[in-house]
């Protein structure tokens, strides 16, 4: 849909746009969650234990105008046009926010650094049969890595903290190019050696499930700099052979395939950099 200039133009000029990971809003027991469910449950995805993902257009008072889970311009444009007609002169009383549900709050810890993470399948796919398949085969998986302040300080002193190495491999050496991926459990980290010397990071990693149906063996290299308590550079790549897929990331290439993950400092001015890591759904495990 974003390849359509009219849609992008309409969204920028005529709409207030919001993007959410529905895992949070669907569950939060606070004003944010209640308003989200008020809107979403007017649509076809209105069962409490099922996903509500999709595209919604609604007026400020929470009245749903339309819904689609399609991304094609010919489905989205009519939705937008209908919403523009419906939105005129809608009065919306203020919503009392009250206390946020702390179980679902994900705020960057003080002094922590944010790193963009991207991933890509580098080969192994057959010829795509549809445009949609082609899009998936060439897509970049995206996420963010949070680095705690004490870990930044350790990097500044010239060492690679074990906690950071484990967080990188367990939550970010994953194939998220086709959907929500399974992360690696602690005991699936079979081999991990990441060393930082003179600003150069290098090492290797081997990850594998107990059944052997999924695995990743990779070499890691990069450049890391921290100064005055702040991360100044975190340009890192991991490249190796991946195999397997997850429940929501099906249609991986057969057998072993080349796969890479890249890290670079996030732009703090980018709204997307405020999105918490996918792995932060279990915040304690993620930040440990």
């Amino acid at each position: 849909m974003f390849a359509d200039a009219e849609i992008v133009g309409l969204l920028r000029a005529k709409f207030v746009t919001v993007a959410v990971d529905e895992w949070y809003q669907h569950r939060q027991k606070d004003a944010e969650g209640e308003f989200y469910r008020k809107v979403a449950h007017q649509g076809p995805r209105n069962k409490p234990n099922e996903t509500t993902q999709g595209l919604y257009a609604f007026t400020a008072d929470g009245t749903l105008v339309g819904y689609t889970n399609h991304r094609s311009a010919d489905r989205v444009k009519p939705l937008l046009k209908k919403a523009l007609e419906a939105a005129a002169d809608v009065e919306a009383p203020a919503v009392e926010r009250g206390k946020a549900d702390a179980r679902f709050e994900r705020t960057l810890p003080e002094g922590a650094a944010v790193v963009d993470v991207t991933s890509k399948v580098l080969g192994g796919y057959g010829e795509p049969k549809t445009a949609w398949e082609k899009a998936y085969q060439t897509s970049l998986g995206r996420d963010h890595l949070w680095i705690r302040r004490d870990e930044v300080l350790a990097l500044e002193k010239g060492g690679m903290p074990e906690s950071l190495a484990r967080r990188m491999v367990r939550f970010h050496f994953i194939d998220n190019t086709r959907g929500e991926p399974p992360m690696w459990a602690a005991d699936e980290v079979k081999e991990l050696s990441l060393k930082l010397e003179g600003g150069r990071l290098a090492g290797k990693v081997r990850l594998e499930t107990a059944s052997g149906d999924r695995g990743f063996e990779a070499a890691v290299a990069g450049f890391v700099e921290a100064k005055d308590g702040k991360l100044a550079r975190f340009d890192v790549v991991a490249k190796g052979q991946f195999r397997g897929e997850g429940r929501y990331t099906q249609n991986a290439p057969e057998g072993r395939f080349p796969f890479a993950v890249g890290f670079a400092l996030a732009d703090p001015g980018d709204a997307a950099s405020k999105v918490p890591p996918q792995g932060a759904r279990d915040l304690r495990d993620y930040l440990r």
């Binding site: 919001v18 809107v39 996903t51 400020a60 939105a87």
Partner: protein, 65 residues
């Protein structure tokens, strides 16, 4: 140790791969001013008299695939 580091770095064309893994700078969806809270969106919509477009996914749309 540094010899090992260098060898590993040389085995992969680091700069080219790091560049390949960076997202394009001109992605159209990035030009849209996304809010991250439906209540924030609702307040802005009421103030500006605009409808809301909500992109909801399993996995955050701005930080996922």
């Amino acid at each position: 140790m540094l010899a090992i580091v260098s060898a590993l770095l040389l085995q992969i064309d680091f700069d080219a791969l790091h560049r390949e893994l960076r997202p394009p700078k001109d992605e159209a969806w990035r030009t849209i001013p996304w809010k991250l809270s439906v209540l924030d969106a609702r307040e802005a919509a009421a103030r500006e008299k605009k409808p809301v477009f909500l992109w909801s996914m399993n996995g955050h749309p701005l930080g996922c695939v």
